[in-house]
Amino acid sequence: MKNILAVLTVVAAIIAFWYAACVPMNIKGVLDQAERAGTEVSPATAKERRDMGTFGLVASNTFAIADTWAQDRPRLPAPHQVAVELWKTTVEKKITSKRSLIYHGQVTLSATLLGFAIGTGLGILLAVGIVHSKVMDMSVMPWAIVSQTIPIIALAPMIIVVLYSIGVQGILPKAIISAYLSFFPVVVGMVKGLRSPDHMQLDLLKTYNASTAQGFWKLRLPSSLPYLFASLKIGIAASLVGAIVGELPTGAVAGLGARLLAGSYYGQTVQIWSALFAAAILAALLVALLGLIERLVLKRMGMSA
């Protein structure tokens, strides 16, 4: 109960700060509109207002504060504006509508999940290779690290262009960008997990004259699961970012990334923010789902420490 109160306090503080930030961010736009509508504002001309500090403007036009939270195209939309937009574009719109965030969300989600599956599979395979082969350990790991230092925003258009030129388009290029981001945490976590059994455990298998494959299936793989789940949670969030980034340079017509891009073309800040929130909520749901699976699996395996 105490915890809930603390959480709510933090949330309330963030929302209060957000509302407060809307006032100086949007005041100029509000005053410009008011002037055009014939209301008296001080100072009277846009030029004079431009040279003034925003806090000064707020102080001399306190009547306009309420309007900073209700503009059509604010620089910074107020929380309730975003909430209303989210409600309208998820619950009230039909899922088939091009303006439904559910529709755009599931486009992005399918690329995310496909990319996540490819990335996880690749990550696990690489980790198995790295743990069992010294050559792979020395040759693959540096490249995996280097691959993550290249900004994905620079790489994404190239991946899409190259794939397009060989006839691959649709969901796959986006999924590959997702996979590119999500394989790395899986490799790192899985390598650590597969190496987590201590010397005694490995010696014990040796005394049984167990094969490498038996050691892998009976000891290394089960031991690695807690590490794998930690990595998967990072990986799925990275996958979602990858899918969204993959939608940006293609002029995609569907997906949360496309929604962000369209919003910024037309100055629809409320649309941008609601797409951002939709992405954040989607990521939170995916991570929570993985967390739930993790709890169930590890509890079943007696490893829920």
Binding site: M200, D203, T207, N209, A210, K218, G302, M303
Partner: protein, 269 residues
């Protein structure tokens, strides 16, 4: 130094024979002589304890028998084979200081681990699990997970795991080192009974003098830097040993000789 060499070097009874065994570890601080000129014969059915301060090579010698370490020079045979061949023939079961049970397997499934690896049939696995659980007095605990058992019970389960396949040698590396004295006494008593019933040859590493004297038919006293054998004591205690044998004069005399051997090893450095 009184390295013992049994005169009838290759009697049919000998299970382990070490001759002029040397093992040098290369470390960052230079070479470390873990074993120096070790000669030892272990006969079938012996209960041999290795005792000495840390660094005396007692665990290393056990690991050489198990082919987990390889000697730099000298020879060692286990059942007449090299330790590696013996390991491949699954000649011994090894019990470590920690039970090392897999948390995701029940006790029964843990005991089945070596049986699965060695390819025993399902029915055979079940039969053997029931047998060894009974042997270590854990019947009825097969379905429990390791965390549901006390430390002493976990260690018994790990002994059961080492007994489950037909190895006639049992190598134990300070198996009760992490347990309190009361549990330890109890497990020592049980171990003797188990040894009497199964007729195995046991190699047992410890740094407790009473434990070594109580359990062993042969006590190997070792000392460090370099790791070597300073004394080999054939116990004169009867095979039947109630716990209060530890108050007998005979027991105290043997313990005294062990202590002397340990002291002699120390005065060298």
């Amino acid at each position: 130094m009184t390295n013992e060499t049994t005169p009838q070097a290759s009697s049919p009874q000998a299970v382990v024979e070490a001759r002029d065994l040397n093992l040098v570890f290369e470390t960052n601080d230079g070479p470390v002589q873990a074993l120096k000129d070790v000669n030892l014969t272990i006969n079938k059915g012996d209960f041999v304890s290795f005792i000495g301060p840390s660094g005396c090579g007692k665990t290393t010698f056990l690991r050489v028998m198990a082919a987990l370490e390889h000697p730099t020079s000298g020879s060692i045979t286990v059942n007449g084979m090299t330790p590696d061949e013996a390991r491949q023939k699954r000649a011994y079961g090894y019990v470590f200081q920690a039970a090392g049970l897999y948390p995701w397997r029940t006790i029964a499934k843990n005991i089945k681990l070596p049986l699965e690896i060695m390819g025993y049939s399902k029915e055979e696995q079940d039969k053997r699990v029931a047998q060894v659980l009974d042997l270590v007095e854990l019947s009825g605990f097969g379905g429990k997970y390791p965390w549901q058992l006390s430390g002493g019970m976990q260690q018994r389960a790990s002994i059961a795991r080492a007994l489950a396949f037909d190895a006639d040698i049992l190598l134990m590396d300070e198996p009760f080192g992490a347990l309190d004295e009361i549990v330890r006494d109890h497990l020592n008593e049980q171990l003797l009974k188990l040894w009497a019933r199964t007729d195995k040859t046991i190699g047992f590493v410890t740094h407790s003098i009473p434990e070594a004297v109580y359990l062993s038919t042969k006590i190997v006293v070792m000392s460090p830097r370099p790791g070597r054998i300073t004394d080999v004591i054939e116990s004169t205690l009867p095979k039947e040993r109630p716990l209060d044998i530890r108050d007998s004069q005979e027991f105290i005399d043997i313990a005294h000789r062990v202590r002397e051997g340990l002291r002699a090893g120390h005065s060298d450095d």
